[in-house]
Symmetry: C2
Subunit: 156 residues, 2 copies
Amino acid sequence: MTGTVINAPAGTPFVEVTREFAATPAQLFKIVSDRDLVTEWLGPRELDATVEEYDARTGGAYRYIHRDEAGEYAFRGVFHTVEPDKLIIQTFEFEGAPGQVCIEKMTLEPTATGVRFHQQSVFPSVESRDQFIESGMEHGINDSMDRLAELLAKES
Amino acid sequence: MTGTVINAPAGTPFVEVTREFAATPAQLFKIVSDRDLVTEWLGPRELDATVEEYDARTGGAYRYIHRDEAGEYAFRGVFHTVEPDKLIIQTFEFEGAPGQVCIEKMTLEPTATGVRFHQQSVFPSVESRDQFIESGMEHGINDSMDRLAELLAKES
């Protein structure tokens, strides 16, 4: 299993996540666009999750809620572009920081041995990006990518 | 008439536009959210414009086309948040540069003499921000802000 690479250059509002999976772009897209699978992979393992809406097509919207003993964390956004098996561009807002909206671009590219997942998140400021990193972003991203790999292994 | 201030710090993916208008936030919001008025203010004066869609509410979408003798320039996006009289957060893509999607946050704040319009655009890279500036962004923004002021004067 190739590891997840997270790149967040200092002084910029960008975060980039790269991961290779032993699957086809179509297999990976099927999972990341499936409303019923969102709670199986998105976010840290230890949180309970509920999906209110997850309409992964151009013009659709999503909202999901993570819960731990301390409380609830809701996230929402809209899908700007969804090109099956290739590309998802969406907005992303943690409702606990209202108005601090990111734009995220996920590309799925076939490689010799599988598929390369790449996601760029652009924050509205360097400060909001840094706060997100300090809030434990890396743990959530690593869990999400590992859980995706496990789902792909189960499906194949 | 207070002038338009455009701030695009070197080496960042940000552009900020600020303008004060002698109007209420509600008067300004009414114009910027009205599909039938988009062609009256958005973009350079000398271009013909057509609006295909402009559904300025949370979850809505828009697409419009500018034309000159050289060709057509289409723009599209989705509305992440629309709070009447206060806030619009939307995506923005020039279809001539597909996949280079910005996020734009417009706030309308009452002042002692009217309303302060502020819009931040965040580009997916410093390079795409710089290309947008070089393509004549300043002219388009200044025309848009002046045309808004003219429409407000006409309506009142």
